[in-house]
């Protein structure tokens, strides 16, 4: 390869553009993003509201196609994928964690995790090694509760467990601490860092909070649909 792309990079993005069409108006959400992320990296993304952070995640995670540009995730080019192929990719290649936890409200924590296993196409019961992850997340004792019986921090840690139960190449966390108090935020951020350090999980994390961003190996700053600097 002679285009400067490192083969160890699990994410390679070149001149990515995304334009939403709202009525007759084009809303450019991403205006030429270049980004490489190494395997095993914990990357923080920070930027003002509307700068395109979530849009970037949605594209990397295959929830929406790019308008133009090249997006290679885990060796697969997303810009060439059909809807169905992106759906398949979401099963195993990426895991999402959202600001609003997004657990299924009628299912216990355990069943929320099992649903992800089931959709991912594996046996609904996680492997025995997953017990270790649950201990690390500190939710092993809370698995038989439904989300409304769990604290925000616990819900978010269940959501993290669900996101990684299929061993995705990348974990995408969109403001995972946005709805949490300081104490719970700290717990979740430490869990993410532990997953990264101990299991080598590649993690991209959006945050508004510079303190949270400091948990990352590096930080990308976004503004008006572009990456302005990487520190």
């Amino acid at each position: 390869m002679n285009n400067g792309v490192n083969n160890g990079d699990i994410i390679q993005i070149r001149d990515l553009r995304k334009t939403y069409r709202v009525g007759k108006v084009d809303v450019p959400a991403l205006r030429g993003v270049d980004l490489d992320v190494e395997k095993g990296h914990l990357l923080s993304i920070i930027g003002p509201s509307g700068s395109g952070k979530s849009t970037l995640f949605h594209i990397i995670g295959g929830l929406t196609p790019p308008t133009s540009g090249k997006v290679v995730v885990g060796g697969k080019d997303l810009s060439a994928m059909t809807d169905a192929e992106r759906t398949r990719m979401r099963k195993r290649t990426v895991g999402f964690v959202f600001q609003k936890f997004n657990l299924l409200p009628n299912l216990t924590a355990r069943d929320n995790i099992a649903v992800a296993r089931y959709i991912g196409g594996t046996d609904a019961r996680p492997e025995p090694e997953f017990e270790e992850v649950l201990r690390l997340l500190g939710i092993r004792e809370r698995l038989d509760h439904k989300p409304n019986a769990l604290s925000g921090g616990e819900q978010q840690r269940v959501a993290i467990a669900r996101a990684i139960v299929n061993h995705p190449a990348i974990l995408l966390a969109d403001e995972p601490t946005g709805n949490l108090d300081t104490e719970n935020s700290k717990a979740v951020l430490e869990v993410l860092r532990d997953l990264n350090r101990r299991l080598g999980q590649t993690i991209l994390m959006i945050t508004h909070n510079p303190e949270a961003a400091a948990y990352g190996d590096s930080t990308v700053h976004m503004r008006d649909g572009r990456i302005t600097e990487r520190t």
């Binding site: 759906t87 990719m89 979401r90 195993r92 997004n102 299924l104």
Partner: protein, 353 residues
Amino acid sequence: MRSLLSILLIGVPVTLILCLVGLSHGFIEDSQKRARGIGADILMRPKTSSFLSLNGAPIPQQLVAYIAKQPHVKMATGVFSVAAEGITLGATGINYHEFAQMSGGFRFLSGGPFQKPDDVIFDDYYANQTQSHVGDTITLLNSKWHVCGIMESGKLSHIVLPIDTLQERTGNQGNVNQIYIRVDDPANTQAAIRSLKDNPGLEGYPIFSMEEFTSLLNVNNIPALAGFIAVVMGIGVVIGFAVVCLSMYMAVLQRTREIGILKSLGASKSFILGIILSEAFFLGLGGTILGIVMSYGAAALIHALKPASLPMIIVYEWWPITGAITVAGALLGALYPGLTAAAHDPIEALSYE
């Protein structure tokens, strides 16, 4: 809550279908049983009658004696039947002596045979239904009658009257509208029928063996009924379809966000569609089961109120039929909401409040 209401709404037409089918089968079975209880081998009916209705020119009563003299015929008796209440309940005038000889007589639960010209015999069903007892005076066919006996049901009719009085009071002197014939040996039934049919004096009268006649009594031979059942079934399907469509559409709206979550986890369109369809399947199944349960309730109610006029039975063969139709309607109804859900944009669904 939404599901329970849907199941109830789906169950109601299921009950309706099952009641309709149960009533028509019950009516037929009841008629067949009573026809078999007569003890006749051959039946002759008025010239222009259909096998379900006795409309048309009656049969002159003199023919009874004539038929009794034909080959193989052991005895014949004429009866005169009229509609007592709607089309499902008839009253029949008989020559008590002749009829008792043919059928082996009634089994009386109380009272006994006619003593006076204005006596009437009820069967236990009709006596229960009307709360009548021996000794009561009742009004039937616009005249007064005196209940002289209550018999066990299953023979000829629910209401039995002396034929002379009935003929007189309805202005049908000298007429009968069915002649029951007993042959010397059941093996000679066909031979007797042939000779009766060949007899020029009886030309044009429909003559059946009792066996043939009871087998003609079935649901498919009642002209309007099959069509009516089809219409009620159609209504059932439409209701099932509409209920499930609305209910699942609501469900899809309510769970937009959850659908988004499943999609973010990698659920495919067919997976989402599958969830909606399987829920609709269970709604349809639940509705069918509830409908069946309610049909038992309806049968019990009808049995308590009108056992003689509306003999309803439970027809098991119709359970899978109504079930399949209801489930098919439900699945069809879930298709549109299901496809809508499957087509949801995951990002929009996730940001749905």
